[in-house]
Amino acid sequence: MLLEIDDVSLLYGRIQALHGISLTVDEGEIVALIGANGAGKSTTMRAISGIRPVASGRIRFNGEDVTKLRADLRVRRGLCQAPEGRGIFPGMTVLENLDMGAYTRRDRAGVAQDLNRVMELFPRLAERRKQAGGTLSGGEQQMLAVGRALMSRPKLLLLDEPSMGLAPMLIQQIFNIITEINEQGTTILLVEQNAQQALARAHRAYVLETGRIVKSGTGAELLHDPSVKEAYLGVA
């Protein structure tokens, strides 16, 4: 198991956002976490990346207990998150943003290689390399966030709503790239409101409702599950 979350609860002040969540991600997988607004998807991501401390439970990554580990040290262990929406550095250029992604790395040759790879994955970013991140369009910012996370050469890539606010065509495109990244050998945990796409791409998936996992299975299983269909796929 690359990532193992065991009975994790998390509080925002006195409000309990997660009620004992357990999930696993195996090496090489794409795992999707779907659910409605406010179900606790992003909160789960924050717990995994370490931005938010958990109240109870354990998080193991790559055989190591990281429950109490600081977020920046988790990045060094190979756990990198592309934050939701506008989590890029607006004043830095595209290149500087990507460079920040490689902040923890010292192997210059490897970084240069990964930069080329990101530019190949996202030709759009190559065109805009000197442009300030804040002046990019929503889709480009999303690509930059994914590309920047890749620059840390993560073992596990956490993607928080990569399709948020994108046009349907761009959504297709970004999911194609996610699949491609996975095929190149990066394990991915994906949080999505766009359940259709997420389930179609994921090997396995979990359904989150009000801070609890209510269902899990392979992507295809859940895609055809009647209750999932009704609740998340807009089919009666």
Binding site: A71, I88, F89, P90, G101, G134
Partner: protein, 381 residues
């Protein structure tokens, strides 16, 4: 200012603003494109100018620049202290994006360290020489910065501003009421830095402020070189990323708390140095030197000049300190302008924040961040 009967229509105004913008960008552009030697020569000329400035033989030809109501050399010393502090505060506010409302508190710690350890009116009577105490003062301010920062820098935004404000007040009130710190009576006979002229007279004294000014100017240059190198390193990148988006910085593996603490402590150390210089120059330190207003003025100066930009901070700190003194001794319609100096200052700040929130000489990134924030506000509505 010209007042026209008909206000210019929006297009005209827009066009004028555009020309203005282009003019400024053209200067910046020309500077960036100038050959290296031209830049060095210009920079050297500016430095020489400022070294020459406090000499009467020089400044008497400068028309309205010397201050009519105060000794210009003394004013220039004050200005230089403000510039040094603006450079330090710029690390905290401009680079790391930490709102420090009590920066002057660190200045006070530096000044009082020197006073307590060197003055004959101090209870402990160590009577150490000035030069020996300066590193102690810097170290102590750094320690106080770390002590203040460790519990508070884990918090975000507004909390830090409030805590630093409280810190500066605590220092001030301690200075007023702790018997050990002598309140209004203060500490006298604080020694000057060492050094004698060929004829045996000491270089540093109360009457001639020039050596002190030159000393501070030299220190400013050294500090600026150091800060510049720092900002071009991994440390600088970490600071900027924290300022732009702290969560994202952490997600990229930046140990944010550590770097915030570093920014806070280095800023504090520079203020401590400024305080030590001030104590030596004044020869005397008491509780009236440390009004809260000073913290506000320095913060305003950094923002006015262009926070996040070293040149901006220097220009801001220099201009603000100078303008305040420039009002002294000027009467207009029977009003002593100096009495109203903060009124003008406030007015200029308000106008600035409306038309140019990124400051006189903005940082390129900072300007983009402002645009981004504005967009965010609109999206959020």
């Amino acid at each position: 200012m010209t007042t026209t009967v008909n206000p210019p229509n929006p297009e005209q105004r827009e066009a004028a603003m555009d020309r203005l913008r282009h003019g400024r960008e053209a200067i910046a552009e020309r500077w960036r494109n100038a050959p290296r030697w031209v830049r060095w020569v210009l920079l050297a000329a500016v430095i020489v100018f400022f070294y020459a400035l406090p000499n009467k033989e020089f400044y008497q030809y400068l028309g309205p620049i010397p201050t009519p109501g105060a000794n210009f050399t003394q004013v220039m010393f004050t200005v230089s202290i403000y510039v040094l502090m603006a450079v330090g505060l710029n690390i905290v506010v401009g680079f790391a994006g930490l709102l420090d409302l009590g920066y002057f508190g660190f200045f006070a710690v530096g000044a009082y360290t020197v006073a307590v350890l060197t003055s004959p009116s101090s209870d402990i009577k160590t009577l150490w020489p000035w030069l020996l105490v300066v590193p102690v003062a810097i170290a102590l301010t750094m320690v106080s910065g770390v002590m203040l920062g460790t519990p508070t820098l884990r918090l975000r935004g507004d909390y830090l501003a409030l805590v630093t404000l409280g810190f500066a007040e605590m220092i001030r009130i301690s200075a007023v009421s702790l018997p050990f710190l002598k309140g209004q009576r203060g500490f006298n006979q604080i020694p000057h830095p060492p050094g004698k002229y060929a004829d045996g007279k000491p270089i540093f004294g109360i009457l001639d402020a020039r050596p002190y000014y030159w000393l501070v100017l030299t220190l400013i240059i050294l500090v600026v070189i150091g800060v510049r190198n720092l900002t071009h390193s991994r440390v600088g990148r970490a600071w900027i990323s924290i300022r732009e988006d702290e969560d994202a910085a952490q997600l990229m593996g930046v140990p944010t708390f550590k770097f915030k603490l570093w920014a806070f402590a280095s800023g504090a150390a520079i203020a401590g140095l400024a305080g030590a210089l001030f104590a030596g120059k004044q020869n005397f330190v008491n509780s009236q030197n440390f009004e809260l207003l000073n913290s506000i003025i320095i913060l305003a100066a950094v923002i006015f000049g262009g926070s996040g930009n070293i040149v901006g901070a220097i220009v801001g700190g220099g201009l603000v300190a100078y303008m305040i003194e420039r009002f002294r001794g000027i009467e207009l319609f029977g009003l002593e302008l100096y009495e109203y100096r903060f009124l003008f200052f406030g007015l200029v700040l308000v106008v600035m924040m409306i038309f140019r929130p990124q400051g006189l000489i903005p940082n390129r990134r900072r300007a983009a961040e402002f645009k981004d924030r504005r967009k965010e506000v609109i999206v959020g509505e």
